[in-house]
Amino acid sequence: MVSADKDLQPIADLDRTIHSPARLMILAYLAAVDSVDFIFLMNQVGLTRGNLSSHLTTLEEAGYVSIQKEFVDKVPRTLIRLTDQGRDAIQTYREQMRTVIDQLLG
């Protein structure tokens, strides 16, 4: 692995789980509300079922979201919620991005 230039190190340090437009959008929506279901995220983020499912699995494996299956009136519902770890990760990512932008743009 090529070592990053010291000035560009903050870019290399960015959390790659969050640093993807789709996952960032998912986390932004989750940070704005308490919990949402799968259909809501699909409508808002504009991803296909398979794509969204894959991104959510990545986020769940990182411990950033919790996914719960439940039944409402015999209809299955997938409820997604941001975990405390996910909230901290967004905060850290925001700070890192701020540093990166400040360093790159002065």
Partner: protein, 205 residues
Amino acid sequence: MNKNIDFEKLQRRVFLAYQQDGILDLLVGINATGFALSMLMDSVVFLSLGAMSAILYILLKQRITIPRFGFVDFGRDRTVSRRLTILVAIGVLVFITFLAGAILPRMNPSPVTKALLDQYHMVIISGMVFGLPCAIVALLLGPRRFYLYALLAVGLPALGGFFGTETYLPMLTLGLLVTATGIWLLAKFMQRYPLDEEAGSGVRG
């Protein structure tokens, strides 16, 4: 360049999108129509449409909005405080209306005031019962069309008073207009968010 994601703004946008199904419009429209019909028929039976519309609101949200748009929990504190503010504000307005209705006739108003009150009393009633609540909904929940409903709730009875039409007519016009808008919005919403056959499924099947 704005480096921050405005979560409050995002939440407001989601909340607003949640109100684009026209169901709240139906609630207001049916209430105004019921109010007009109870004046026309001189019967309080039609006022029960108000209670029915509240049940309809919950049913439509559960059966139409959530399966299509998806479910969002805005957080208990935020939802409760918003609902409480709206309920308290509407309760205070209705109370003031009834209080004014009970006190004003006992104040021996001058003939001019009395004539004005006779001619334009519906402006006050409609403004308090429908106009201000619509303005509060627009202010707290965001859908700007409710400002227009508030304006109509005052403007239509004022026009009715000016032209000397039957008192129920402006209310009926308001009710039918708002109901029609609600139905149109609901149809548009259902077209935009078709029912997902695989509703509910998602991660891990």
